[in-house]
């Protein structure tokens, strides 16, 4: 009697173990790395849960990686097969990952017009390197004009209006400025440079730091800083934030990351960056960074991964991430949603992206920053002219690239 009982228990236990094993077998686990925190993370996780509810066979494990270590972790882990199946990162390191190989899975095979048609063209362009698409665009970030409604009721539309409005509100003696932005940082300055039709690389990936358009853009910046004196000296992100929060800066050029730092007492408005009368009425064109979703090449579940990537960049997921995470999705159809369209911040960035230009994703881009920073500092401190500083920067970028390629 007793032995029968034991046997039954044993068999039942064995059966359980087997069904358990079978269940585990049927589940595909995808590991996804991202760099989100706070509301962005909550929205992202909600979207992941939505996907899992709709797809029984796939479980997704998300891992938030601290931003400063993120890119190096990808570079080190993915090619050795120890990385995630899917990861989210901006496009600036993409070219380097393609060049070093065995990191990103090319997606051209999966793509058709229906899928590519839903993205803003410029964001898909940011995901393209050497004629292949290496990731699907998820969100974009660019700078726009953020102003204090108490100080400015009608945001300027042209650079002439901008300077006029800023001059009225500037009083350097008490530390009050009409316009404040991190203009010595090349990323912020790029909106002026691109507005003049300049750029740091040409179509053939050759550096063009000192092209005449770039110099003209810098000369305009210097008239703002030095001639009209509407900008604070030695700007830094911390300084801009505190000026704006103290009501001492009326207009700021910054991106979505700035909004989280604005104090509640400030009533903000957003507007598209002004057009440049000095550049024949062309709009200021900020650099846009695009967060892409990539499938890692050593992944063993690429089909499932692509299903997830498609879902993540779809309309349903985009609406959640926009409304709950405050993200600006690269999927155009998201903005047809009534709630998204009614959100002033989301629609402001949607309008700004029309003039934005994706930041180059060439591996050589990383060589550009430090000479550009040196040049910007020399120019805004007037220890060098725009032309001379950019000639020097051009020389240095060329020198760095050639030393790497020898």
């Amino acid at each position: 009697m007793r032995s029968t009982f034991t046997r039954t228990i044993l068999i039942a236990a064995l059966g359980l173990v087997f069904t358990g094993a079978a269940l585990v077998e049927a589940q595909t686990e995808l590991v996804v790395w991202h760099g989100y925190r706070g509301a962005e993370k909550a929205a992202f996780e909600k979207v992941v849960q939505m996907f899992m509810d709709q797809n029984d066979g796939i479980t997704i494990k998300t891992l938030a990686v601290p931003y400063d270590a993120y890119a190096d972790k990808i570079t080190a882990a993915v090619p050795r097969g120890r990385g995630p199946d899917v990861f989210i990162f901006a496009q600036d390191r993409m070219g380097g990952w393609v060049a070093s190989g065995n990191t990103l899975e090319p997606l051209d095979f999966f793509l058709d017009d229906k899928l590519t048609g839903r993205f803003l063209d410029s964001t898909l362009h940011a995901m393209t390197y050497q004629d292949s698409v290496w990731g699907l665009p998820l969100n974009y970030k660019c700078i726009t004009m953020i102003y204090n409604k108490k100080l400015i009721s009608d945001p300027p539309k042209t650079s002439t209006e901008l300077v006029a409005a800023a001059k009225k509100l500037t009083d350097a003696k008490v530390g009050r400025f009409g316009l404040a932005y991190h203009y010595s940082d090349f990323y912020y300055h790029a909106s002026l440079m691109n507005g003049f039709g300049g750029g740091v690389f040409d179509d053939k990936s050759q550096p063009t730091m000192n092209r005449p358009e770039n110099v003209k853009a810098l000369e305009l910046l210097m008239t703002w800083v030095d001639g009209e004196k509407v900008l604070p000296l030695e700007p830094s992100t911390a300084l801009i934030t505190s000026l704006f929060n103290d009501g001492k800066a009326a207009m700021v050029f910054s991106g979505p990351w700035f909004l989280g730092e604005v104090s509640d007492s400030i009533d903000i408005g957003l507007a598209t960056l002004p057009t440049l009368d000095e550049a024949g009425g062309q709009p200021m064109r900020p650099w846009m960074t695009v967060e892409g979703v990539y499938i890692s090449q050593p992944s063993k579940h690429k089909d499932e991964a692509f299903e997830f990537v498609t879902f993540l960049t779809g309309t349903e997921a985009g609406v959640v991430m926009a409304l709950e995470g405050g993200q600006t999705p690269a999927n155009k159809t998201v903005y047809d949603n009534a709630k998204v369209a009614a959100d002033p911040v989301l629609s402001a960035f949607r309008a700004q992206v029309e003039t934005a230009i994706p930041m180059p994703n060439l591996p050589e881009m990383t060589m550009m920053w430090s000479p550009a920073t040196t040049a910007m500092n020399a120019i805004v401190r007037k220890s060098s002219t725009p032309k001379a500083a950019m000639d020097q920067a051009q020389k240095e970028v060329q020198d760095r690239i050639s030393k790497l390629r020898k």
Partner: protein, 639 residues
């Protein structure tokens, strides 16, 4: 002694001969595989060239491919891809419903991606300044076969890709090992015979043994190399005849398909993976003797590099035995075996955590490691002392531009000079300020001493990057508190980071603020341990306060202060945070110190090898300083 030397000779001969033989065996295998890949690529390129003509003329590529496979039994699973289509395939599963031509399927995504990658490489390589990318892909398969893929083109236009699996080559004939025994025997015999004639001096015996060993090893290596060279010549002749056959086969197939025949170009089939002709096979299918001997010579150089290592090891081994080092090492190990056993875990820890990374750093300082070649093997990017000479022989501290003579702040010697000034001034400030405060705090009967002490140690307790950022804010041109104070007294605000001198002042102030508490604590401790009767005796003798300070206080402080100064010099020399966060090297890198420069070279310019050389130089400077300091002060004498 004769016995010891003989043992050394036999062991070293064994190691040397086996090493050289193993090297030759590896070289034969590599050569065999390399030539096999080369001829496979040549065959496949011929097919690709012909397929290009066929695709362009819309002829039956599938038939061509099947015929090609029949012609070359070692090549199988040939697939030709064009866009999203599989235009021809001899892969086992691709028959019946699956037969080419058809659309590519999901499982064939890799083929599609590879075709696009090759196409992208070809486009990229059209730009002569872009980093080179492989136009031919060769990858080993788990079965031991090789997968080769080449682009299919016609008249410079990309039409797709041809890929195939190639069976592994027949194993090569191993190089002779017999000579190895001669190496073992001959020097030993000669030495035995001659040992009586030699004077009784271990160095003479060791020298003779090493000389004999070297001659024997060189002779042996020569025999091995000849085997290798013969094999290679045979492989070249074979390749040349295959190329001729291929060329006539291609023409025949083109005629058969009633196409306008395009003359085959055999000289473009023997290429490296960038599709650059290797030049050994000439247009007619002949072997270019000069190019072949050049290739042989470069092979010989590669073989010799390995050989030097083996011979070096053999010679050291021979010496170790002949001179008696091996014996004494053995004796020490045996005598203190417990001691060595106890220290093994610590030694292993040191090895893994300190010595291996350190050696790795030194190794990459001899390479051109950078962001583009980080997955290359070390010997492929070896540049010898190039990095060091580039750093150390650049004496152009001044450069002449349109604006006149200016200092080149990126120059190593400027940065070195600046770093030394930075270190000296900082340590001086830290020591004098710390000592002064310690003397004040040491005053007898001072009230609230504990409070002052706590208060003065605070700068040390706050994480130094926070301090650095606070100081950075205080030096702001418009909003910084320092300029506010200057303006309060009617001065004009200073742009602190505009000139090297004022920029230097900012980092000096910040680091001075950070470094005095340490010196103060050290001095205070030492001051309290000076017996007060010394001062009493001095007072009785009528010594002044100053005399007491120089004759009692300073000498008593020396044993504590000197090690602290040595440490402080090393810390300050490598004080990364302050220049990096406060002055950020402004203006234009003038206030960069060596360690921040090394960081920027590695992580902003991505030249890891160069940065490693920079770091090794920093290490050598500091080590030299440490040794010198120790010798001069004998600070560690008492320990």
């Amino acid at each position: 002694m004769v016995r010891r030397v003989t043992l050394g000779l036999i062991l070293a001969g064994l190691v040397g001969a086996l090493g050289a033989w193993w090297l030759a065996k590896a070289a034969v295998t590599v050569q065999n595989r390399g030539m096999h890949t080369r001829s496979s690529v040549a065959h496949l390129l011929m097919l690709a060239e012909t397929a290009g003509v066929f695709l362009n003329g819309e002829a039956d590529v599938q038939r061509l491919t099947a015929a090609f496979e029949e012609e070359h039994p070692e090549i199988s699973s040939i697939r030709i891809v064009s866009g999203r289509d599989l235009v021809a395939s001899t892969a086992p599963g691709d028959t019946g419903e699956n037969a080419a031509p058809r659309r590519l399927q999901r499982e064939e995504k890799d083929l599609f991606d590879l075709a696009r990658a090759l196409q992208a490489s070809v486009t990229n390589n059209l730009d002569p300044t872009a980093p080179r990318q492989e136009e031919i892909s060769t990858a080993p398969l788990p079965s031991g076969a090789l997968q080769v893929a080449v682009p299919v083109e016609f008249d410079g236009e990309n039409l797709g890709m041809a890929s195939a699996e190639i069976a592994p080559p027949a194993p090569p004939r191993a190089p002779p090992l017999l000579g190895g025994f001669l190496v073992l025997l001959v020097p030993t015999l000669i030495y035995w015979g001659a040992s009586r004639l030699l004077p009784e001096n271990r160095w003479v015996h060791a020298g003779a043994a090493v000389a004999l060993l070297l001659v024997a090893l060189i002779v042996f290596a020569g025999i091995e190399w000849n085997h290798l060279a013969d094999a290679r010549e045979g492989l070249f002749t074979e390749l040349a005849s295959q190329v001729v056959e291929d060329a006539s086969w291609s023409t025949a197939r083109q005629l058969e398909a009633t196409l306008d025949p395009v003359a085959p170009q055999p000289e473009t089939w023997d290429v490296n993976d960038l599709r650059e002709p290797l030049g050994v096979i000439l247009a007619g299918g002949d072997v270019d003797a000069a190019a072949m001997s050049a290739e042989l010579a470069s092979g010989r150089r590669a073989y010799n590099r390995g050989l030097w290592l083996v011979q070096g090891i053999a010679v050291l081994l021979c010496l170790a035995f002949a001179v008696g080092w091996a014996a004494s090492l053995w004796r020490t190990l045996k005598a203190y075996k417990e001691a060595y056993a106890y220290t093994v875990p610590a030694l292993l820890g040191m090895l893994v955590l300190v010595f291996i990374p350190f050696l790795y750093g030194i190794t990459i300082s001899f390479t051109n490691l950078n962001i583009y070649n980080s997955d290359e093997a070390v010997w492929n990017i070896w540049v010898g002392f190039d990095n060091y000479t580039a750093i150390l022989t650049d004496f152009e501290v001044f450069e002449t531009t349109d604006a006149g003579r200016t200092i080149n702040y990126q120059n190593f010697y400027w940065t070195l000079g600046f770093t030394i000034i930075w270190t000296i001034t900082n340590v001086t400030i830290g020591v004098s300020l710390g000592l002064l405060l310690a003397l004040i705090l040491n005053t007898k009967g001072l009230r609230g001493k504990a409070f002052y002490r706590l208060f003065l140690i605070l700068p040390w307790a706050v994480p130094n990057y926070i301090t650095a950022l606070i100081w950075k804010g205080m030096f702001h041109q418009q909003f910084g508190v320092i300029n506010q104070v200057i303006q309060m007294f009617g001065g004009t605000p200073v742009a602190w980071f505009e000139t090297p001198l004022s920029s230097f002042a900012t980092i000096l102030t910040t680091n001075g603020w950070l470094s005095f508490p340490f010196m103060m604590v050290i001095s205070l401790g030492a001051l309290q341990s000076i017996p007060s009767d010394l001062y009493e005796a001095a007072r009785v003798d009528g010594a002044t306060r100053w005399r007491q300070f120089t004759a009692i206080t300073l000498p008593s402080l020396k044993p504590a202060l000197i090690p602290a100064i040595i440490l402080s010099v090393v810390w300050t020399f490598n004080q990364f945070n302050i220049p990096y966060l406060v002055s950020q090297g402004e203006p234009a890198g003038a206030t960069e110190i060596l360690i921040t420069d090394a960081y920027k070279i590695a992580f902003e310019q991505y030249r890891y090898g160069y940065a490693a050389a920079y770091s090794v130089i920093i290490f050598i400077i500091l080590m030299g300083y440490g040794i010198w300091q120790n010798k001069v002060t004998k600070a560690t004498e008492g320990i």
